[in-house]
Symmetry: C2
Subunit: 325 residues, 2 copies
């Protein structure tokens, strides 16, 4: 009875969060893109069944402090993990819904400079555009692989900025992919705000600076992972991330999240070493995954995605009724 | 006496702000670039004297909430105003130091989509890179004009992220251009944080979210405009910006800033109409400047920069000793 009461309470808090959030502006457009993408991949797989779909979330969400937004709190995330992982998921034959923060790293473009147009190109004497020799291969690869993934229907990119947009889009994706059951994966690498200012209690106009120090009280963003697990995508393969700067508490917090939110795996990473190694925490073991330093340009995401794909296969076999196979 | 005491107090606050700020990592590199740029433009002008230099600041500053930064407060600014103005300043014969927030709009690239590499280019069958027809002119113009401005020494781009970086770089620029006297202009379009968490009182590790709502007390960032005017660039032509979402208080606040900080002009703009019109507030008049709607793609920055250049000429004539002319 107590558990049910708690669940009802959680659902109430989340329902009220969504009801009070500013509505998504391009709701119909996103919905149509999603439906189209999923439909295409239902028929896309070589072996008859629907292709596996993973939703990769990437980059940080923002929390507006004013309704006509001038100031906001942001969560740092370059989006490198999400963009890199997307490449390896596509390579492994997944269809990827890349839910990313505007302006963060894009798949297939990691090895390019910040501003590729101005840094990689030059004009020839005949005023044609030319790629500079040193960037030639990287630019070709970026354009070719990106366009190929999008055109073949293996990559759908959906951008967000605020926590309100992110959570509404995540819900839409979870609900649209729920018919895939265990074949859907969620790889939740985005850095999601923990605190926010409820829209109703937000200052309408810009906060004035003349009146001394600023005291702010921020409310906790309701935890979405339990709802994702229980309501939106009950049989999907769910992977969340835990980032800490303090290694002492990292694994404990990851194991806590695994149990509390009933994730299938939690990827634990520390801010300073996150490109070198991560620890995948499951209910039975902690698996350390490291970048292969013997290979020139290997990414930690290469062995990480291999591991997840294997475990996802087991999850699909365990959770599918025999008629699905 | 009272005024002097206040000034001493302001200087003390600012000195302590700089002493406690995390030091600029690439200090020597920025310093060398600045010196080189200014030297080049001392000999660059057609008419014998030094070329006029304007420092355009653009985009918003961030305020870290944790020392190993995961969360921060950001000030919204696309950098559109600064990037556009830079183009018109270059056209008017100025050398521009573009002090911009990483990831914001860049001069000569405004008419391109968010991600030009992936949206404007395609591979041909022979796997060469080709600009899509519809973007061809915009891409050529961006690359040609940008490279021309940089190569001729008319444009120096310096990126920042945090308020600490921004203010330290602004001070360096002001001090290096001070030998230009009234020929230096500061066009302060960046959205600078009003509140911050002093580095010393900042959480070292990530703030934990488990413990209920978050109360934050933010200190005011010391006002730099008085120091810029009094200490760093006493005879430069100084233009600050006032952005409000509430039109009722806008002009009053702009006039207040003009007087209090002894700016030469304050550009007042309202969030919703800022691309259509601005009001330039001076000690004697309020000048409304609007985009020419009869011209296809005119920018409000076109007449705005024309006005500023004229007023800057008067400022130079008024403030130069006869030997400088």
């Amino acid at each position: 009875m107590d558990l049910k009461a708690t669940e009802a309470n959680i659902n109430g808090v989340i329902e009220s969060f969504f009801n009070l959030a500013p509505p998504l502006r391009n709701n119909a457009d996103i919905s149509a893109k999603l439906e189209n993408f999923i439909k295409r991949n239902e028929m896309n797989s070589g072996n008859g069944g629907a292709r596996r779909i993973v939703c990769v979330t990437s980059g940080g969400t923002t929390v507006p402090l004013e309704q006509r937004c001038v100031r906001y709190i942001d969560n740092f995330s370059s989006g490198h993990r999400g963009a890199t992982s997307t490449e390896y998921f596509v390579k492994a034959g997944y269809a990827v819904i890349f839910l990313y923060r505007r302006g963060t790293f894009q798949p297939f473009c990691r090895s390019l400079p910040d501003d590729p147009l101005l840094e990689c190109f030059e004009l020839t004497d005949g005023s044609n555009i030319k790629v500079q020799e040193s960037y030639s291969e990287a630019v070709k690869r970026a354009i070719a692989e990106h366009h190929s993934a999008v055109n073949k229907g293996f990559l759908l990119k959906l951008p967000f900025t605020t926590i309100f947009e992110y959570l509404q889009m995540l819900r839409m994706i979870a609900m649209s992919t729920s018919k895939l059951g265990p074949k859907a994966m969620f790889y939740l690498a985005a850095a999601v705000s923990d605190f926010y200012v409820p829209w109703q209690s937000m200052a309408e106009h810009k906060i004035q600076s003349a009146s001394g120090p600023l005291n702010m009280q921020l409310a906790q963003v309701p935890k979405m992972l339990p709802v994702l697990r229980q309501e939106w995508a009950p049989t999907a393969f769910l992977i969340s991330f835990k980032l800490e700067t303090d290694s002492k508490i990292l694994l404990k917090k990851a194991a806590g999240a695994l149990e509390k939110y009933r994730m299938n795996m939690v990827v634990a990473n520390e801010l300073l070493t996150r490109k070198e190694e991560v620890v995948v925490v499951t209910s039975s073991e902690n698996i350390r995954v490291s970048r292969d330093k013997n290979v020139g340009v290997d990414d930690v995401e290469d062995p990480l995605i291999q591991l997840l794909v294997e475990r996802h296969s087991i999850h699909i076999n365990t959770n599918s009724s025999s008629s699905d196979l």
